[in-house]
């Protein structure tokens, strides 16, 4: 068996993973990146709208960005972490520009901005409506320059734990079907979100939450898993995102009566209130019969063809391709859809998890800067700031970690599991059926509006799906590029994530941010200014609590 060994191994090659790799490389570590798809296929490429930063050099105030983030989080974000993110945002942005990101400019050639939800100030920097793709390509350019090793199309199946420390991973090489042990003194998880636990979702089919599930299985704490963001404007039918930048540029939301209904829900910020607020408003309009065929309308016509074609050309392309609407001529039908998870692997501001040697950054992590509701364009910022910090910290840690003997038998459990999956007699069930049932269940019961009964139903349903999974066979016995095996293994991780979402949601007995309970509609600061932690235990998920860190901003009533 070939031996692979590194100081720092980064799992995931999206924005967080690549930024972490570059930082660890700069820190002098022998660093490698492992990813189940080519880096530029990572789902960061789908980010459309932009990245937030308060540029103090031009008079913006990062305090104001921090306050907007705190309020956006419905006071569940840790304020020390938010201060770190917002204060470092300016330098982070300039660094990206220096690396080569072709941000759109203003008339004088300085970086241009647009407005985004939950903020009064225009401080979202962007590349048309392909910001994520443009950032991802540039970070990949830097990776090519750095010559860091990339294990491409390798699927990580578990973390290697030695004496309570994380010391590497086991991974399946898709091209050959071989399982490998990769030893590493420090491991950074940057595996992205878990949006596909829901169906439909704005997330790519590869966004399946393994990083969270692997960390959870290895004993790390997940935090605030109940906080799942529904984006207010996803396309009718397939749920593809229509970026918030549309509203940032001035688009309206209209109901079947042609009213800008946000007047009722957020008279000041209107369409640019926080996402949780807008999603609830849209869903309420639909539920109360003022929708159009299960949707409301996003109207861009008054923005004019030229603006649409230069700044929003990608969503125009998508609307044309999928619903045959030219945004300059017609409003487009949209509805809320699963988009982002604020919850994730609990880390400190340096990416350290509760397991020594294990770090996490990006959407799979929870630092926590987004709390109960992430502001649009804060996630890209989160991936870059905390990607860099975790890469840097992991490199320092690895330099002092020393050697440890690792037996190659650590891959046996995964090898046996794969053998088992391949040797079972195929029945009527399939990974696709279970995955769809899981997605439907979550979308029905743990979505924009929740209640005790629904969430109980969901927990039970997920447990039943786990039983079905325990009987599931892989129908394809090939070695080379066996996607049937891949999807089946992903599903196992997804079911764990779904379960932690459900139990965390049941535990939070109040409404806050994206977690809105129709049976307990009020926020309860007295009892619930705390995070919900969930650990794996032999009896199933076990719940714990942690107070929210408050530095300067006491909870206030939240209105937009």
């Amino acid at each position: 068996m070939a031996v692979y060994e590194h100081d720092v191994l980064v799992v995931g090659a999206g924005l967080a993973g690549m930024r972490a790799t570059i930082a660890a490389d700069a820190g002098g570590a022998n660093v490698a990146m492992i990813t189940k798809v080519h880096p530029v296929r990572s789902h960061s490429n789908a980010a459309q709208g932009g990245i937030n930063a308060a540029l103090t050099s031009r008079g913006d105030d990062w305090d104001d960005h921090a306050l907007a983030t705190v309020k956006g989080s419905d006071y569940l974000g840790d304020q020390d972490a938010i201060e770190v993110m917002c204060s470092e945002a300016g330098d982070t942005l300039i660094e990206l520009e220096h690396m080569g990101v072709i941000f759109n400019r203003d008339e004088e050639g300085h970086l241009g901005t647009r407005r985004f939800g939950g903020q009064e100030v225009a401080r979202t920097f962007f590349v048309a409506d392909i910001t994520g793709q443009a950032l991802l390509q540039v970070l990949y350019e830097q990776i090519v320059k750095s010559q860091a090793r990339i294990y491409e199309e390798w699927f990580v199946t578990s973390l290697v734990m030695v004496d309570g420390q994380c010391r590497g991973v086991v991974a399946l090489e898709l091209m050959t079907g071989q399982l490998h042990l990769i030893k590493s003194k420090a491991v950074i998880l940057a595996t992205g979100g878990s949006g596909r636990v829901y169906e439909p979702s704005t997330n790519g089919l590869i966004v399946t939450g393994e990083g969270m599930a692997m960390a959870y299985r290895a004993g790390a704490a997940l935090m605030d898993m109940e906080m799942v963001q529904y984006h207010p404007t996803t396309l009718k039918g397939n749920g593809i995102l229509m970026t918030e930048a549309a509203r940032g540029e001035g688009a309206y939301l209209l109901n079947s009566e042609g009213d800008r209904f946000m007047e009722k829900y957020a008279p000041n910020m209107m369409e640019l209130a926080s996402r949780d607020v807008v999603s609830r408003a849209v869903q309420t309009e639909i539920n109360e019969g003022r929708g159009v065929d299960g949707c409301v309308l996003l109207d861009l016509r008054h923005l004019g063809r030229e603006l649409i074609e230069t700044k929003l050309s990608y969503i125009n392309e998508v609307a044309l391709d999928f619903v045959n609407v030219n945004l300059a001529d017609q409003p487009v039908p949209i509805r809320p859809g699963c988009h982002y998870i604020m919850g994730g692997i609990k880390t400190d501001v340096n990416g350290a998890t509760t397991i020594p040697g294990l770090y996490a950054a990006g959407e799979c992590a929870n630092v926590s800067v987004h709390g109960g509701n992430r502001l649009g364009a804060n996630s890209l910022l989160d991936t870059i700031v905390f990607g860099r910090r975790s890469g840097h910290t992991a490199a320092t840690y690895a330099a002092e970690a020393g050697e440890k003997a690792i037996s190659e038998s650590v891959i046996n459990a995964d090898r046996d599991f794969i053998k088992l999956l391949m040797s079972r007699e195929p029945g009527n069930d399939s990974w696709a059926k279970i995955r769809r049932d899981m997605g439907d269940t979550m979308n029905e019961h743990v979505a924009v509006f929740r209640n005790e009964d629904g969430m109980q139903t969901a927990v039970k349903a997920i447990l039943q799906l786990k039983e079905r999974f325990a009987q599931l066979a892989v129908r394809d016995n090939s070695q080379v590029f066996n996607t049937s095996l891949l999807f089946t293994m992903e599903l196992g991780f997804m079911l764990d994530v779904a379960e932690t979402i459900c139990v965390s949601a049941l535990a939070r007995k109040e409404s806050r941010g994206a977690h809105y309970r129709t049976d307990i509609p009020e926020r309860d600061d007295e009892n619930w200014m705390r995070h919900i932690l969930v650990h794996a235990s032999p009896e199933g998920p076990s719940i714990d609590y942690l107070p929210v860190v408050i530095t300067r901003w006491q909870p206030q009533a939240r209105s937009y």
Binding site: V40, A46, E97, G100, G109, A128, Q133, Q137, L241, S478
Partner: protein, 320 residues
Amino acid sequence: MQVTLAIKRFNPESDKPQPHYEEFTVDVEEHFTVLDSLIKVREEVDESLALRCSCRASICGSCAMRVEGHATLACKTKLISVMDGQSKVRIEPMTNQPVIKDLVVDMKPFWDKIRDVEPWLQPQEPEPEDEYIAPNEAMIHLTGVMGCIMCGACVSDCTVLEVDPNFLGPAALAKAYRFVGDPRDDADKHRLKELSKYTGIWDCTRCYECVEVCPKGVAPMDRIMALRDRAIAAGFDGNYGARHTEAFSDLVEHSGWLDELRMIPKTFGMFNPLSLGPLLGMIPIGLRALRRRKLPPIRHKSIPGVKNVRRIFKKVEARK
């Protein structure tokens, strides 16, 4: 509605690995994309069907393949748009790239070529404290190139790559343009010199295929032509590539169409000892072209309207 997908399959693990077509008939909805129908096959009929896909929204670049003979993104192609009244749709992996399994190709050569163009910003030092000042038009113009999702469709259908796998190809050259066109990049001279070598910008035959198939409007050929203009302006016109362009117009002026056999000696110079290498290098390409019946006629005749062509040339010359 029903559709029959004729999918070109390849299983490297079978006893005698042979590409072959397999047909699947599935129920589909009017709005289905090719990808929707393939996913349906994979989920409901044959789990072993291998393809790459993720975003379903033409942004991740995973799902390029050939549909009815042209490279495209499966997720951007509506079934009805390719059915054309028939009920069968032919789906094959991309060409010019080795097939690994079914619709999955090995993109290593693709990425190697991207790497070859030194794809990172090489700015003038020292860096400014704040952002580089750059005109918005320049950035918006580059956004068109940055829109490249590295799907490989253009490479699949490039007619030069079909005969000369060493050609850098449309995607890598478009990527190179992204830097040459970037006001912040300071390595133009070096880049244009490298790009002017054999396998670079002068090897494109302007067949337009890459522009046709690119799902993101990157228009690689136009970028290559822009690079040529810049290369000539930067003084890289003594090489065979630039001479190729001159030879091209000379020959067309002479006979009204391209005498491809005379292109090579005219470009390299018949008696130039330095041209021996390139000339010998052309032989395998010529042989391959012959095999594919693409060799031009040996006796080159002028076209009937050659006088008019010459008149056009005179007019253009007069305007310069």
